[in-house]
Amino acid sequence: MPQDRDPGPDAARTANHAGIERLMDTLLPSLIAKLATLHVGELEVREGDWHVRLRHPAGVDGDLGRRAGDRPSQRGHAGHDAVGAPAPARTTPVGPGPSAAATASTNGTQPALAPVGPGRAVDGAPAHEDGSGQATAHGPIALSPAVGIFQPGSAAIAGTRVRAGERLGAVDMLGIPQDVLAPADGIVTSIMVEAGTAVEYGQELVGIEATAGSEAR
């Protein structure tokens, strides 16, 4: 895990031995562990004259914007690295086809997600394993990857042809942009939320009319 200021072995032999030793032995390991469990991008601590800042290797957006599919066993570093790699064709939890239905059990997602508000599930939505009926009626929908403020991107205009995994905008979570990605190849039909609006996790943001993968290319 890289650090902005590296209180390396050389520095450790200069002034304030006790402080540095404490920093290295107790503070740093616990900070690193803390950073891994907290899922914040950056952690900064002042300790006397010392000032330590820890940051996630790839920035936090790659991690936070990821699907929830990774299990608790993939804790800490390995988990981050595994999911932090660029994934242009990210699968979304909601969408047509058998793959979405297969992941639904671990994600706990429903065929449709309610908008911001009291957050009730769509009661009318039948709990069929086959979510495709729902998806055919409305087309695939890009969902919010985080709770924050929605900012549509240049591709989020009705009529724009997009590819699966293409960036349609971002949800700003405390200054960290989380990409909103197209769940399938298709044509943007509607922008469901205005720019600058607060959105919750899983909220429907951009509607898409699916086209067959080959046609999109």
């Binding site: 907290l38 899922h39 936090v60 929830a68 706990g108 009291p118 709770v147 979570m173 607060a198 996790y201």
Partner: protein
Amino acid sequence: MFSKILIANRGEIALRILRACRTMGIDAVVAYSEADRDSLAVQLADEAICIGPPDARRSYLSVPAIISAAVVTGCDAIHPGYGFLSEDETFAEVVRAHDLTFIGPPPEVLDRFASKEGTRRLLGGFGLPTIPGSVGMIRDDEHALAEAERIGYPVLIKPSAGGGGKGMRMVRTPRELESAIKVCRSEAKSAFGDDSLYLEKWLDDTRHVEVQVAVDRYGHGVQFGERDCSVQRRHQKILEEGPTTALTPAARAELNERAIRAVVAAGYENVGTLEFLVDAEGKAYFIEINCRIQVEHAVTEMLTGMDLVAMQIRIAAGEPLGITQADVQTRGHAIEFRINAEDPAHEFRPGAGIVERYHAPGGPGIRMDSHLFPGYEVPPFYDSLLGKLVVWGPDRATAVERGRAALDELVVEGIVTNVEIHKALITSETFLEGRMTTNLLDRVGSAAFLAAAART
């Protein structure tokens, strides 16, 4: 006072906090994971916001998601409940950095009490007796062996962080110590991200007694008496009551007074609990402080008539306590039964599923804090607490009678619960005579309790 509070928790405590906010005329937003979309707290809330997927690390444990939810919904404070981020000083620090208030002790206070070993030394210095233990954290096996030798076997290996019995082992020999340290380190590491361990002298047949306190920002503190949490299973409390049957009234008064004096002197702030082990001779040893509202706070509320969650919110808002010790009068006896989705007949294996029927008992002195409703699906992702049945009576015998009737009246169908173990406990001689020790269930075995109850 705050205008709007984000409730960053789930289950019965999310409801409890929502109710406190309503009473105080404060708006509340319930932050929930996708697994809790249909939860009672979300249904009853005026406003709710989904913060992430079921995996708690990306929802209830995600600092950016929770703070972002508070910011976009216009909250000025965050109530963390218990568990999750409730005692995390880094979270409290980040909350403050976003101009929000963490409802609990301020970050520097959480930091001061973060290490159990450090807290023992701190409060020991202010007059609380502590259990003999290792000086500082265990460095390596040799250090551990030397310290254990000095303290005398048996010793208890304890993690500096966390709770809930993870990373804890009692060992009787050097050989056991060496192998247990490795297990404890890895358990503590994966549960709390911190593998520092220390040793404590193991006391046989102890009682667990804890003192509820509240201290405001201005150093004014009161105690609300003690709770007895001796009925545990593998270091997890399942039944709590107050007052304790382990101490005489004079000894209880002395313990409570010493606790509040020490914690005020040490600079604590907000509601908190000081936990003690009481040995067979009635001598109490301080073990740790809980810097949060606890599951069993309702016992104290029944005994004192006070609203501890409201008090917690007021203290965090900077208000003075507004009461003195003389205003705190405990009356009668209260017992709390934790109703968990666990199967006592099968090693308390946790269960999940749909609640087909649910009926909460009623009557004088009965309180049921639960997020259950018929048709509710208990998600498999979180802890197994389904609710707390709390009963009050003018004396212990009446509380026990009411408890027995209320447990019989309670209906939870469709999922497995631990209600049978409570029925067995409350009719057992050991409990009726008030002689429960923390090792009772683990020593006798839950199966023996159930079998004994079945015979009567």
